[in-house]
């Protein structure tokens, strides 16, 4: 859709666009070009010498089993975060929806973790789960569980998932509650007259009606787990033990750290950018529909 009523001016629109375009060119397109260039180079830590090595960095990456391990970790991690935070949020939203009177009050008490920085969330959870001083860790140990995230990859991944999912519950809760409250009462009540039980009603009517919201939230949660959890991982596990909590984004950072493997890190950046642009293109239809009505 286009506006019919417009202004005409030869230079003004360019001037208006200039700040946004400039920032985008300098801090998106130029670095992206740099990443591509760097991904073909082999360089020492201090940037004193560099060699053009064609696709060597990419070949090394695809030959490296740890890259696939990281890919897998990323999927398991994002899947778990999405599943955990979505299901808890849905449960809470259904309960809040059933009790319309208290809903807004409960909402206030549930939405604030959204505002907590991922890195701070990591610190809060490490304070509970550190095997030496954490209160929850001590509880787990007294229950006979050998809680040891320093060494046990599953434990380490679990604690990162918990901290990340915790932060995302508020966002999901908000959207689920809005989605639930948009479902016409009459539909539910009609089903109730038919004698459908609450549990069955939820599965056969509420959930299907919520599916657009659920799908949207799934995408948002996965994007969140991919990119926004860097701070959580960095404060809790730094990707360890034995790479058990290393996601793709974390690997870009840690491989380029100390200038150790800047070429390899750049190659990973390029691959990630391609994936992200691909995802955006897929989402395009969805977004464009919203944009133009």
């Amino acid at each position: 859709m286009e506006k019919r009523a417009t202004f005409s001016n030869r230079y003004l629109p360019y001037a208006l666009l200039a700040p946004q375009i400039l920032v985008t060119l300098i801090f998106f397109y130029w670095p992206a070009a740099q990443a591509i260039r760097q991904s073909f180079m082999l360089e020492d830590a201090f940037g004193l010498s560099s060699d053009f090595v064609w696709f060597e960095n990419y070949v090394a990456l695809f030959k490296d089993p740890s890259y696939y391990q990281t890919l897998w970790t990323t999927f398991v991690f994002s899947g778990s975060v999405a599943f955990l935070s979505l299901s808890v949020a849905l449960l809470l939203a259904v309960m809040a929806d059933a009790e319309i009177r208290g809903a807004t009050a409960y909402r206030t008490f549930l939405i604030w973790p959204y505002a907590v920085a991922p890195a701070v969330a990591g610190v809060l959870w490490i304070f509970m789960l550190d095997p030496s001083l954490g209160m929850v860790a001590r509880g787990l140990k007294s229950l006979g569980l050998d809680w040891n995230p320093r060494l046990n990859g599953t434990h380490a991944l679990t604690q990162v998932v918990l901290a990340s999912a915790w932060k995302q519950i508020s966002y999901n809760f908000l959207f689920f509650l809005a989605g639930l409250q948009a479902i016409p009462r009459s539909v539910i009540e009609a089903a109730a007259i038919d004698g459908a039980r609450a549990w069955r009603r939820f599965w056969t009517i509420t959930l299907p009606l919520l599916s657009p919201t659920t799908f949207f939230l799934l995408v948002v949660n996965i994007v969140y787990a991919f990119f926004d959890t860097f701070g959580t991982i960095d404060t809790m596990t730094q990707g360890g033990p034995a790479k058990a909590t290393e996601t793709l984004v974390y690997k870009v950072y840690s491989d380029g750290r100390l200038g150790g493997d800047l070429g390899g890190s750049a190659a990973q950046s390029v691959i990630l950018m391609i994936i992200v642009i691909g995802l955006t293109a897929v989402q395009f239809r969805f977004v464009e529909r919203r944009v133009t009505y």
């Binding site: 020492d44 201090f46 940037g47 060699d51 030496s132 320093r150 990859g153 033990p241 034995a242």
Partner: protein
Amino acid sequence: MRLTRIAAFAAALGYAGTASAQTEIQWWHAMTGGNNEVVVKLAQEFNASQTDYKVVPSYKGSYPDAMNAGIAAFRAGNAPHILQVFEVGTATMMSARGAVKPVYQLMAEAGEAFDPKAYLPAITGYYSTAKGEMLSFPFNSSSMVMWINKDALKKAGLNADQPPKTWPEVFEAAKKLKAAGHATCGFSNAWATWAHIEQFSAWHNLPLSTKANGLDGFDTVLQFNGPTQVKHLENLVELQKQKVYDYSGRTNSGEGRFTSGECPIFLTSSGFYGNVKGNAKFDWAAVPMPYYPEVQGAPQNSIIGGASLWVMGGKSAAEYKGIAKFFAFLSNTDRQAKLHQESGYLPITRAAYEKVKASGFYEKNPSFQTALIELTGKEPTENSRGLRLGNMVQLRDMWSEELEAALAGQKTPKAALDAAVTRGNALLRQFERTAGR
């Protein structure tokens, strides 16, 4: 904003005139706890001793963090004047010609009195070229020692004055300690690879890699997957299952487990002294690292740890002059002797060592000499002179991953060490290609 703050500060002290004339020397470091205080105090003393230069210490996080920050800042043309780099970063810094200013050159150009022979060769050798030219200034040197909680040993019915000497003895003691109430941790260590790969190999006179552990060339090949190292890791894996041994992470972030009393036997740096003294509420001692008695020649000698100060390139002559003055200030005999006794790090000059020895300090505090004895007890061999591997920080991460995989039971000890060697060699070859040109 910064300018006004400095101006306000200077005005408050009443010498607005001289403040602007000072040359600022940025010193990035990674010292925490008691040693952080030592750094700050040294800078204050130096700044008070003269008016031309001002050393500004700045904490940059852990050793790898500080090194990372320094390298990133150099690439961005924004390097500090002095960068504290831990011993494993030495090869990376050495290969960066143009990025660093060798200390022997710095001192000569600045005209500061500097006699390389005044320094302890066991320490400076590590930071010098084959010709004996000192490249970086040893600041805090240490070695790995075994810290023991004497009260806990006594409670477990062990003789605290005859602490375990060999690994089998340590294992036995740890089992008794576990039975006596240390359920989560009989013994442990910080710096996992330093303890069980690097120091372990030198201490048992086993090669870590060819070419004298890399000292004789970057074309070195790792070979620490020998039977002794594998057997040691097998023992640890077995004990980890029972929590007689409990892993405490790759760096020294787990050191609090000793001072809190959780782990009564703990291998880590001799530089841990300041924190033990400040935080441990029990009787303690630092004793030599354990060894396997059946290994020929063990114990050999230990290798050096800690960190040195690198001077970054591309600074002005006036700034270099100030840095040289600061290094001369640090080398002062009384100051070195005091530093050694306060921090537990080793004295770096002969004069300071002799002075402390003559004062009878070691008789009263035998723990202080442990690291020195370990380092100088025997004439070093090809396997124990030290090590110089490129990308060592990344190598350590790689090796730690493999140790963690073995301790978690995902890999056999043999497979883990084999993988550590194979993966490490690939990284060494990459370093060889980019370095030294």
